[in-house]
């Protein structure tokens, strides 16, 4: 039985992403045309009814976010498309841009129209620089056809889209940090308040949305939301693009309805574990997400069910790990990632990660000290409670969940952990 669906990804492979004519031939820009006939409130109500949660990882309700952005006073506002998809095991935004760049632009134009912005910025991670030409072309062609620029389709609404490049920094996925980067600075998070919705890029009211979130908005305006909310569960309606990878036979991006179990994702969609090994654990939502053991593989993939077992949808990454990998080696790899990516600004993240790395290294070598586990847990909690931004707050999710689910892997005293 086919378990994937096709709503957000319906255009994938259906047209030539290098050509607006090709896009128009499959009904492209229907969403923008419809949006321009609607009021801002009508669009916000629609987004609220679809219950679209932010797909970058924070899962904030998009309708609410747009409603707040629209009500912020200001003649000059900004919409930013966050295409700094940095969570390991997450590549669904790449798939959207590769396959359907025009839908993304539609989403931005709609968001701009809804909140009253004149300028949109796409912040594309450097690692996706090969997608730049595609976006540059899409923006130019859309402008040439009057979907961008002054007085779009005679509606009186004007909107420009600018493309900015990242330069390799995971932390720039955080809204205020991304803004610092677009302003030509190093990517270190800003103090809140002021909140970016009121004072963000160039001190202007700013809305930041993830690529997938904007694509859903465009899809919802193309078809209405009924088809969309028919997917999923009552509390998690709709569908989600997941990035499935790791020890799985068929890695890739898949659009799934909320409510499938993780088992269905791994075995039915992913074709099962590589070499038919045993599933050991999985990690959802990238490096900042927790890990879950095989024992909870029947948990439905919904916001509410995952929440109950301490997991999150996050960015939609599903990393499958089989029994060939030691938990501590996995933790070490995640720790290395955060050591590389912490911006260094605040003490808990900079120094906490540094200290925890030393302890993790000792565990890897089986040379841990008696109080190491306790110390690591203590500072992991200090990080999650006191860090400046989300990076530091979530950096130890892996370690803490690993200790919770695999305590035996941290108990071995002396000698190699095997």
């Amino acid at each position: 039985m086919l378990k994937t669906v096709s709503f957000i990804t319906e255009n994938f492979g259906k047209y030539d992403p290098k050509s607006i004519d090709s896009y128009l031939s499959i009904g492209g820009f229907t969403a923008v045309k419809r949006a321009l006939t609607m009021s801002s409130n009508e669009i916000i109500d629609m987004a609220k009814a679809a219950s679209i949660k932010g797909r970058g990882g924070a899962a904030y309700d998009t309708g609410r976010k747009w409603s707040q952005a629209a009500s912020v006073p200001g003649l000059n506002k900004v919409v930013i498309c966050n295409a700094d998809e940095g969570e390991p095991c997450t590549f669904k935004d790449r798939a959207i841009i590769e396959n359907d760049p025009f839908r993304l632009l539609e989403g931005m134009i709609i968001a701009g129209y809804t909140v009253g912005a004149q300028n949109g910025y796409i912040y594309l991670r450097e690692e996706y620089s090969h997608l730049r030409p595609l976006l540059i072309n899409a923006i130019a062609e859309s402008k040439a056809k009057g979907f961008l620029g002054q007085n779009i389709l005679g509606s009186g609404f004007s909107f420009e889209i600018h493309l900015y490049s990242g330069a390799g920094a995971y932390v720039c996925g955080e809204g205020s940090t991304l803004i610092e980067s677009i302003e030509g600075k190093s990517g270190r998070p800003r103090i809140k308040p002021p909140f970016i919705k009121e004072c963000g890029l160039f001190q202007l009211p700013t809305l930041v949305n993830n690529v997938e979130t904007l694509a859903i908005a465009a899809a919802a305006l193309t078809h209405g939301i009924d088809d969309y909310i028919a997917f999923g569960t009552e509390k998690s309606p709709g569908s989600k693009i997941i990035s499935l990878a790791g020890n799985v036979k068929k890695p890739g991006t898949y659009e799934i309805p909320f409510g499938l179990t993780i088992r269905e994702i791994i075995y039915d969609i992913g074709g099962g574990i590589t070499d038919d090994n045993e599933l050991k654990f999985f990690q959802l939502g990238g490096a900042s997400g927790s890990i879950g053991p095989a024992s909870i593989v029947d948990t439905p993939y919904t916001y509410e069910d995952l929440g109950k077992v301490g997991l999150t949808v996050g960015s939609g990454g599903v990393l499958v790990v089989d029994d060939r990998t030691r938990v501590i080696d996995f933790v070490k790899s995640i720790q290395d990632f955060f050591i590389h990516e912490s911006c260094g600004k605040c003490t808990p993240c900079r120094e906490g990660n540094r200290q925890i790395l030393r302890i993790v290294d000792r565990f890897v070598d089986g040379a841990q000290n008696p109080r190491d586990l306790e110390t690591a847990e203590r500072f992991a909690h200090i990080m999650s409670n006191c860090a400046f931004c989300g990076l530091g707050e979530t950096a130890q999710s892996t370690l803490l969940s690993a200790i919770k689910y695999f305590p035996e892997e941290f108990e071995v005293k002396g000698g190699k952990l095997e």
Binding site: R125, A167, S186, H340
Partner: protein, 167 residues
């Protein structure tokens, strides 16, 4: 006090300066485009890096404090203040490539290039750098060579084939 009044440069010359001028002009001398400008400039500097003399040149041209330019260069992983190589090979060091077994890939690269990760070949031609996930997990294990992604590198033969493109 001691300071070097250097009119000789290690990498900067009239031709390179003119190219940098063009990049800055194409970006409307807009200081908010600094990150992108530095990426573009780095790509045309031999050995793909941004030494002090280049940063100082951009600082003067764009009227941005040198200290801020350095903060940006030192902050972003894709920018370097030390010489790299003609061909920068980035080995994905992320957890996905690890669990999918990038050991073969790593060892093949080290063997074929004769250097370890984080090293540069003696002739300055190849640099082997570890890098964070670049979103090619569906084709893991993967590398990026001068920005281009190659995946499914599960054997030494496949790795060699990729490197042959960059002789």
């Amino acid at each position: 006090m001691s300071s070097v009044n250097a009119t000789t440069f290690e990498v900067l010359n009239k031709e390179l300066a003119a190219k940098i001028d063009t990049i800055i002009t194409n970006n409307a001398n807009n200081s908010t485009k600094l990150v992108g400008i530095l990426l573009e400039v780095q790509a045309i500097v031999p050995k793909q890096y941004l030494p002090l003399e280049i940063a100082a040149y951009i600082s003067q041209k764009m009227n941005i404090p040198l200290s801020r330019i350095y903060d940006v260069i030192s902050f972003y992983a894709a920018l370097s203040d030390v010489p790299r190589a003609d061909c920068v090979i980035q080995l994905c060091d992320s957890v996905v490539c690890k669990v999918t077994g990038n050991t073969v890939l790593k060892e093949s690269l080290q063997e074929l290039l004769g250097i370890k990760v984080n090293e540069i070949t003696a002739d300055g031609k190849y640099a082997l750098e570890p890098t964070a996930c670049f979103g090619a997990c569906d084709i893991a294990p993967a590398i990026r060579v001068n920005g281009r992604v190659f995946g499914h590198l599960t054997s030494k033969e496949k790795v060699k084939k990729v490197l042959d493109n960059y002789k």
